[in-house]
Symmetry: C2
Subunit: 297 residues, 2 copies
Amino acid sequence: MLFADRLALAVRESGSITCVGLDPRKAQLPAPLRDSVVNDSADEWAAAYTQFCTEIIDVVVGKVACVKPQAAFFEQLGPAGMVALGQVIQYAKKAGLLVITDGKRNDIGSTATAYADGYLGENSPWGSDSLTVSPYLGEDSLTPFVEMCDKRAAGIFVLVKTSNPGGGLLQDRLTEGQTVYQRVAELVTEFNSSRLGESGYGPVGTVVGATYPEQLAKLRQAMPGSWILVPGFGAQGGGAADVLVGLDEDGLGAVVNSSRHIIFAHARDEYRQRLGDARWQDAVAEATSAMNAQLSR
Amino acid sequence: MLFADRLALAVRESGSITCVGLDPRKAQLPAPLRDSVVNDSADEWAAAYTQFCTEIIDVVVGKVACVKPQAAFFEQLGPAGMVALGQVIQYAKKAGLLVITDGKRNDIGSTATAYADGYLGENSPWGSDSLTVSPYLGEDSLTPFVEMCDKRAAGIFVLVKTSNPGGGLLQDRLTEGQTVYQRVAELVTEFNSSRLGESGYGPVGTVVGATYPEQLAKLRQAMPGSWILVPGFGAQGGGAADVLVGLDEDGLGAVVNSSRHIIFAHARDEYRQRLGDARWQDAVAEATSAMNAQLSR
């Protein structure tokens, strides 16, 4: 089944548009996992990251649409962290969860092909369902990723309008009535036009931040064939009303990411006293349910 | 010593502005290295990549300004490839060569910090001198990298005007007399202004393709404090005259990358019959000398 259709199915079956961001960070891991690291070695931290993420997966499977491991935090540990990333992706897939690997990779020509093959290819050491991709290098830098999507029924998510305050510096620049991010959106629509699945969506998803709800609503109209990954919900300030405008009439077309608010829920005021580090998995479960409730219409 | 000053020293001491791109690819490795892979395992290929790159380093050390391993090709092999990337970086540094890791990484906030720490930080598993970075996410996505440069006397190279035909799609868009890539150049100049070393250059380098010599010449003027990494020489069609406009009056300020033309020189018409796969290292040596000669004024 095509990636876009698998994502539609995952949203329907889970009844959730939540994407759980798997962003392990040493300092914020629950105490039991931090304490398991005795010698401060990369291998130990990598094992702690794997355990943290796989336990989260156990908690959220069936309750969310997908998970999004953030490559940077695994990569920060070095090769041992990359092993952990592969383990987490494989664990999530076996559990039946779709995986968006957040790497924001990009390059030109055969180098882009190497990234596409590396993360999405037949013998991929990571074997992700999809990958986030940066568009600065233009359409020919995206083509190798799109071709890999065709070959492997995979997906990509191209950065369009990001959630950070500085994102507008380049993305909002207006040329003949069209911003840079709108030009990227147009390109994505072109890529998808001949590749739409039964769900009405194509393999080229996009990233549009929850912190820009007006733009999100317009982009939903402008890119009818693109799944939108919406970061910035919760910790970054976007609310439910801000993100629901990313959905189509059938409640499809967008997944909303939350990382810190869910995975480090044990440290939030709502859960710290009652659950705390010892019952961090319960905090993840409650925070996931709370987010699903917020996002259900 | 600051990264920019170390690069100036490397150019002066080697008498070369050549940067050798370390882009190992399975199919193009010289036969002796391809033949060393018996079981087609990632570990074997990673070992072959390490041997290939370290032998190239042995050949070019003292004759070139720096080397640029391309993360994508190592990453394509999975964690084993990332181990090889670390080995290659360490080998080059011990040999006295400056290393630009070509990862085109970027993200926002603390995630960008994780990348910066991962590749340039104190306990970096890769320990590179510098990293290529993509600017689509704006200034606040670059700040964590610049701060890591300050902390570690490291460098980054921000994509400005890339060598591929599709690069113009976003980069050339004109808003109130300024293109997107000129806006990035301006931002780079701001970052460097308070960070210039004795060489007159700062830690925030840029990537400007050899395939756009007019823009390269103008960018040289517009970004007096930025080292320019110039890809696209040789295999991608840029000639010597096209890239020399990237230099300042002292012959500093730009390094010119060549990957395939040097590392796979054994397969080029000039060297194939006489040297071929068996003497691929000699082909690398001759191709390096030839490129240095082309670029010497």
